[in-house]
C-alpha cells in the first residue's frame, strides 16, 4: 500500500509542472482510537491547492469532509484517500459518521485560505 502511494506521488510529481501554479498538498493522517495527532487538528491549505488527505486508522471508521461532501471508509486493512481541488475557501470539518445517530465529533478541520 505504501509503495502504491509512493508510486502515485512520483507520478504526480512527474506531471506536477503541468499544474505548477496549483500546489500539491499531501497529508498523511493516522487515526488512533478515533482521534488524530493534535498537530493535525487544523490543517491549512490555500485555495486552488490540489489536496490529498491520506487516511489510515487502527479501527474501521467512516469519515465525511463537510462542504466538499466527500466520504470515505477507512479500516486497518484499507487506508483511503480524499483527493480534491480546494476550490471553496472556508473552514470545513472532517467528522466521523456513526450509525444510530448521536453527536458527531469532528476529527479535524480543513481550512482553505484565500
Amino acid at each position: 500500500m505504501r509503495r502504491r502511494a509512493f508510486v502515485k506521488l512520483a507520478v504526480l510529481a512527474f506531471v506536477a509542472p503541468a499544474a505548477a501554479d496549483a500546489g500539491l498538498r499531501v497529508f498523511e493522517l493516522a487515526i488512533a482510537n478515533g482521534r488524530i495527532d493534535p498537530s493535525y487538528e487544523t490543517i491549512r491549505v490555500t485555495k486552488g491547492d490540489n489536496v490529498e488527505l491520506r487516511w489510515s486508522s487502527d479501527k474501521p471508521i467512516a469519515l465525511h469532509l463537510h462542504g466538499y461532501d466527500i466520504e470515505v471508509s477507512v479500516s486497518p486493512q484499507s487506508p483511503a484517500v480524499m483527493a480534491f481541488v480546494a476550490k471553496i475557501a472556508g473552514r470545513f470539518p472532517v467528522s466521523e459518521h456513526r450509525h444510530g445517530g448521536g453527536h458527531e465529533r469532528a476529527v479535524l478541520y480543513l481550512e482553505v485560505h484565500p
Binding site: 465525511h64 463537510h66 473552514r91 458527531e104
Partner: protein, 467 residues
C-alpha cells in the same frame, strides 16, 4: 463514492463554513469601535441640537398596497401549508425536504434580515394570523356572530408568555438535536401554531400577537431598527434605528425579552467557539457534575445537550445582571428620580443595533449559501423526485461568498451597528435626563458596555468554528 451517503445523517443543516476573522482585522475593528465611540462623544459635547428629533419621509398610502398585501398573505399561508406537509409526508432527509431550509434559513434568518433592514414584513404575512382571521370570518358567516367572548388578559402576564415561548424556540434552535428531522420539526411547528391559535381564541388575536406570539414580538423589536414603518395609513421612511428610541421606558417583561433575544444571538455564536468546547469538556470532566449529568441523561438528553441547556439559561441571566449593574452605575452617576429598573428599561432598546449587526454579520453568508437549497427544493419540496419549475437539479455553490467579502462586510456591519447604538444611547439619555450634562455623564457606563458587547461580537467572529 461521491454520492455514497447523504450528508444529512447528522451535523445540523445549515452549518457555517466561514473562515474566522484574521487577528489583525479583529484588532483593527475593535480599535475602530473605541475610536468612533469617543469621536461620537466629542461630537455630542459640541453639538447642542443633536437628537432633537429625526427626519422622516412620508411615502405612499398603505391603501394602494392592499392588493400586494393580500397576495403576500396568501403566499404566506400557502408556503406554511406546503412546508408543514413536506415535514410530515416528505422524505426524512434535511437536505431533500423543504422544511429545514425554509424554517431555519429562509424564515428565521431571512425574516430577521428583512424585518431589520426593510420593515416588519412578519406582521403583514404571519400565516398564523391570516388563518385565524379566515376562521373568524368563516365563523361569522356561518353563525352570524363573532367568535365567543374572550377572557380578560391578566395584566401581570404582560409579555411573559412570549418570553417563555421564545426561550423554548431558542432551545429548539440551538440545543435540540432533532431540529433537522423534518417530521419532528413539523410537529413542533404545528404545536406552536395550535398554541398560538388557542392564545388568540382565549385572549383575542391582537392581544396574543402583542404578548404571546414570540415571533411577532421578536420581529417587532428587529423592525424598530428598520427604515420603513407604517403610520397613520402611510408608509414612512426614517433613519435606521430611529424606532428604537422609546418615548417611554419599556416594561420589565419586555426588557427581559430583549435581553433574552440578545443573549441567545450571542450564545448562538459562542457555542461554536473553542472556549465553549473547553467549558463543555471541563464541566463534563468534573466528577460531581458528571454524575449529576449522567443521572439527568436518563431523561433522554445527552450530557452536552444538558450543559448547553444550562448555558442557554445562564446567558440571559448574565446579560440581565450586567445590564442591571450598568444601569446602577448610570443611576449613581446622574441625579434622577428614576429607579435602577426604570433606567434599565429606558436604555435597553439602544443595545438592539449591536445585536442586529452581529446577527447580520454572523448569518449573511449562511443565508447566501444554505439559502440556495430553496432553489432545488422549490421544484421538489417533498424529495419525491419532482421537477415543478425545472430547478430541481440546481447545485448549491458554497463558494458564493469569498472570505474577503465575509470578513470586510461583517466588520463594517458590526462597527456601523455600534455607531448607531452609541447615537441612540445619547438620544435616549437626553430624553431621560433632560440636561445635556446629565446625559453625557450618564452615558459613560453605557458606552463601556457597548464597547464590550461589540468587541465580544467581533471576538466570536474571530474564533474558529468548532463542533
Amino acid at each position: 463514492m461521491l454520492l455514497a451517503a447523504s450528508p444529512a445523517a447528522a451535523h445540523g443543516f445549515g452549518q457555517r463554513f466561514d473562515l474566522p476573522l484574521p487577528l489583525w482585522l479583529w484588532v483593527s475593528a475593535a480599535g475602530a469601535t473605541i475610536v468612533l465611540t469617543f469621536a461620537a462623544i466629542a461630537l455630542f459635547v459640541r453639538e447642542r441640537s443633536f437628537g432633537a428629533g429625526h427626519p422622516q419621509l412620508r411615502l405612499l398610502e398603505l391603501d394602494r398596497l392592499r392588493p400586494l398585501a393580500a397576495l403576500l398573505r396568501l403566499a404566506g399561508v400557502l408556503i406554511f401549508v406546503v412546508t408543514l406537509c413536506a415535514g410530515f409526508i416528505g422524505v426524512q432527509d434535511a437536505y431533500r425536504n423543504l422544511i429545514t431550509p425554509m424554517v431555519w434559513v429562509l424564515w428565521w434568518v431571512g425574516f430577521a434580515f428583512v424585518c431589520a433592514l426593510l420593515g416588519n414584513l412578519w406582521a403583514l404575512v404571519n400565516p398564523l394570523t391570516t388563518i385565524f382571521i379566515w376562521v373568524e370570518g368563516l365563523y361569522a358567516a356561518l353563525t352570524g356572530s363573532a367568535l365567543p367572548r374572550k377572557l380578560p388578559y391578566p395584566a401581570w402576564l404582560d409579555v411573559w408568555p412570549a418570553v417563555v415561548l421564545f426561550l423554548g424556540f431558542a432551545w429548539a434552535e440551538l440545543v435540540w438535536r432533532d431540529k433537522d428531522v423534518p417530521a419532528h420539526l413539523a410537529r413542533a411547528l404545528l404545536c406552536y401554531a395550535a398554541l398560538t391559535w388557542i392564545g388568540m381564541l382565549l385572549y383575542g388575536r391582537e392581544l396574543w400577537l402583542k404578548n404571546g406570539e414570540a415571533f411577532s414580538v421578536v420581529f417587532d423589536v428587529l423592525a424598530r431598527f428598520a427604515p420603513l414603518y407604517a403610520s397613520q395609513g402611510r408608509l414612512v421612511l426614517r433613519p435606521p434605528g430611529a424606532g428604537l428610541i422609546p418615548n417611554q421606558p419599556v416594561r420589565f417583561s419586555f426588557l427581559v425579552f430583549v435581553l433574552l433575544m440578545l443573549a441567545s444571538v450571542t450564545f448562538d455564536g459562542f457555542k461554536e467557539t473553542p472556549l465553549n468546547q473547553q467549558i463543555n469538556t471541563a464541566v463534563q470532566g468534573s466528577r460531581s457534575i458528571a454524575s449529576l449529568l449522567f443521572e439527568l441523561s436518563e431523561l433522554g438528553f445527552d450530557e452536552s445537550q444538558l450543559v448547553e441547556s444550562a448555558e442557554l439559561i445562564a446567558f440571559p441571566l448574565v446579560f440581565l445582571a450586567v445590564f442591571w449593574l450598568t444601569s446602577r452605575v448610570i443611576k449613581a452617576s446622574t441625579p434622577t428620580p428614576l429607579s435602577v429598573t426604570e433606567v434599565a428599561c429606558a436604555f435597553v432598546l439602544t443595545l438592539v443595533p449591536i445585536a442586529v449587526a452581529y446577527h447580520l454579520a454572523h448569518y449573511f453568508s449562511l443565508l447566501l449559501t444554505a439559502g440556495q437549497f430553496i432553489i432545488p427544493l422549490a421544484s421538489d419540496p417533498f424529495g419525491f423526485g419532482w421537477n415543478l419549475f425545472g430547478s430541481a437539479t440546481y447545485k448549491v455553490d458554497l463558494g458564493i461568498v469569498s472570505p474577503y467579502v465575509f470578513w470586510y462586510s461583517a466588520v463594517t456591519i458590526i462597527v456601523l451597528g455600534h455607531v448607531i447604538a452609541v447615537v441612540l444611547a445619547h438620544v435616549a439619555a437626553l430624553r431621560v435626563f433632560g440636561s445635556r450634562q446629565g446625559a453625557l455623564v450618564s452615558q459613560l457606563p453605557m458606552m463601556a458596555l457597548m464597547i464590550a458587547y461589540t468587541t465580544l461580537s467581533l471576538w466570536i467572529l474571530a474564533q474558529p468554528i468548532v463542533g
